[in-house]
Subunit: 199 residues, 2 copies
């Protein structure tokens, strides 16, 4: 016996969600049918609405349904003179949660990865150049991930800044607060040592 056609279709479609396999999709389908049809219909509407209307901010490339995202549209942010470059919209949220940074962002939506055909154009570096040229940016904080690709991307952008005489800085890597040395990978520990400061 197979599931009825409509039910099969629902289970298959749920598998397009990241991290959702056959078993989880079944459990999701049955649970919504049994207990939350209202919620499932709301999700159906929210999915369609988002897929049809959410696009990229014309300045910083993060996701938004407006021409400019809230941050880019904020005069206070524009006047800060600082630009933070991150790989994804989730990274923007992570930085925002610290409430430390009050400047603008630029969201690469990825990182340089020549092997996958992802070059400067694919991560919007032409838009970033425009942003650097048209905004009074004094410092670019490079907050790409501490991976090989993230580092390479940071260095590439640092070069762009240098040619414009804009200061470029890289966020510090090291032992996470609350982290234990013994569980850290060697590369992080190397960063932690080379980035040490005199107390």
């Amino acid at each position: 016996m197979k599931f009825s056609p409509i039910l099969s279709e629902l289970i298959n479609s749920l598998k397009c969600l990241p991290g959702v396999g056959q078993k989880t999709a079944q459990r999701m389908a049955f649970q919504m049918l049994e207990r939350n049809r209202e919620g499932a219909l709301a999700l159906s509407d929210a999915l369609r609405n988002a897929m049809e209307h959410v696009k990229h901010c014309s300045q910083c490339r993060t996701f938004t349904e407006s021409e400019l995202c809230d941050i880019c549209a904020s005069p206070i942010r524009q006047q800060a003179g600082v630009l933070c470059v991150v790989e994804s919209p989730q990274d923007v949220m992570a930085v925002e949660q610290t409430s430390e940074f009050k400047g603008l962002y630029f969201v690469l939506m990825g990182h340089l990865s020549p092997i996958d055909g992802i070059g400067p154009a694919e991560i919007g570096l032409d838009s970033l150049a425009q942003m650097l040229d048209s905004n009074p940016v004094e410092e670019v904080i490079l907050a790409t991930n501490p991976t090989v690709e993230g580092e390479a991307t940071a260095h590439y952008i640092a070069q762009m800044c240098r040619s414009r005489e804009i200061k470029a800085s890289r966020i510090a890597h090291g032992v996470p607060v609350g982290g234990e040395l013994e569980y850290l990978d060697g590369s992080t520990l190397t960063h932690a040592f080379s980035g040490r400061r005199v107390l």
Copy 2:
């Protein structure tokens, strides 16, 4: 900074899925927006279609968009004279995967739980009575879960069968094939001992 309204709505709606919290919902939303808008739109349609059309089989109560599910509609199944009672549609799939059972099912969509106000009517025992009275059932196999509620439900239905002079049997509980004794809970091991067979 918060997400844009449409994006927030999507993230919140994704949290109606079982096991999906804020972080997972964000990852799902961003990943679909970035890489799979087609899939997300298909999911939107599948959700609406299922919520609007999938109901319960009028005989066995499993989920289907037809009046009778495929199993109930099968003459071979009807003539088998055996009825398997399970708690959920997922249980039907689990039994079907063994290809051992060729009779009809009755899906309780739960189990007796007086403390939660779930009595015989809530798990469709009136429909089950009708099914027993109108079909040539020789044996009812009680395959509810081996929990306190599942056992109580099995005993209640066994009583219904007895009053109709229909044989009722309970699936065996014991050591799962490939399971190791030392990792089993005591209750399963007790079942395994009391249900032992002479070799």
